[in-house]
Symmetry: C2
Subunit: 179 residues, 2 copies
DNA sequence: ATAGATACCGAACAATATGTACGTTATTGA
DNA sequence: TCAATAACGTACATATTGTTCGGTATCTAT
């Protein structure tokens, strides 16, 4: 990827994140982003077709980092079998805490919902192998339940309860969930 | 409320719901709604200032109906103490199933997230008295966990698993939750 | 260092959406 | 019947959108 492209892309991301701390996702116009990033109109459209696509790209950038080691460990079966589910969860929480600065704006309003939806897509892959059916509950449902409630746990944590450590959040989660 | 106002309001709601089955929330413009409902531009703005406000009003209309008996039973302490938490949950699920036609469009994309957020606001009130702290988990968290996972259960159910009955969904939910 | 490729600029453009204003018409409720 | 008012519809200024295109600056490979 061209250095100029990386620079422009990064400038757009920065401008977008900054705007989301001041305004709601809906009220942020592409014009706002162009002005904030101080780039040409056509330049923006050369990178992203819509605001939604921009948001998705930003989320992907963040999650690819957060889950990078997760994905690695998926390939390395030895490692994945040695580390417990709880350890992996705690691990993800640590990574999210690191990235907290850049995702703060992503939690406000409608934007937070979209952010969480993408987070869930990544979580499905991690959770799938760890969820076992109990009783008459369909596996499909059990997986969705575990993933959704974890995503909501992340929201609860990063949006007003930062005083807790990743390990504590992990404990709360597993105390509330039947696995 | 004037009969004309009720009529116009209803026409706007119908048009909006219809549009949401065809297009995403973001892509639906106020102009679209005006065209679909076939009303004057200024008439729309006499009722709602923004699209978000319209969505909120529509959700409120639906939930006020779904939770109407719930709210009644909250006032009537005798009844509320006799009916179990599980019964109340099942009751809510029955009402949501009834309203399924009118809320189908509300589940697509970003709109679904906003719909669920409003649903959660109503659920907090119902759940609050039924959630008791266990272990070291903060009451705050336990309540959020129960409400969020129930809202996501509703999403899972109405968005692709209609084959289950309200009682079954209720069972799945309580099987997965530690209370 | 040079040259070819290409990302960015910026100005312009039509098309559409937004929010408001105001005089007119039709319906309502008392 | 009549006063109140909801809805109409036309108009308007403003803003956003998405696209085009020629010129400039920057990059990468040789």
């Amino acid at each position: 990827m061209d250095r100029r492209q990386r620079r422009t892309r990064s400038m757009i991301f920065t401008a977008f994140s900054a705007l989301l701390e001041r305004k709601t996702y809906t009220s942020v116009t592409i014009q706002d982003i162009i002005d904030e990033a101080d780039i040409g109109r056509s330049t923006f459209y050369a990178h992203f077709e819509t605001k939604d696509e921009l948001l998705k790209a930003l989320c992907t950038d963040i999650f690819d980092h957060v889950f990078s080691e997760e994905i690695l460990s998926e390939e390395n079966h030895d490692f994945s079998h040695h580390s417990s589910f709880r350890d992996r969860i705690t691990h993800i929480l640590y990574h999210l805490q690191e990235k907290q600065q850049s995702i703060r704006g992503l939690f406000s309003g409608e934007c937070g919902e979209i952010f969480l939806r993408y987070l869930k897509e990544y979580l499905y892959r991690v959770f799938d192998e760890h969820i076992s059916v109990s009783g008459d509950v369909p596996h499909d449902y059990a997986l969705d339940f575990a993933v959704s409630s974890f995503a909501e746990t992340v929201r609860w944590w990063l949006k007003g309860h930062n005083e807790y450590k990743p390990e504590e959040i992990s404990d709360f989660y597993f105390e509330s969930l039947r696995i």
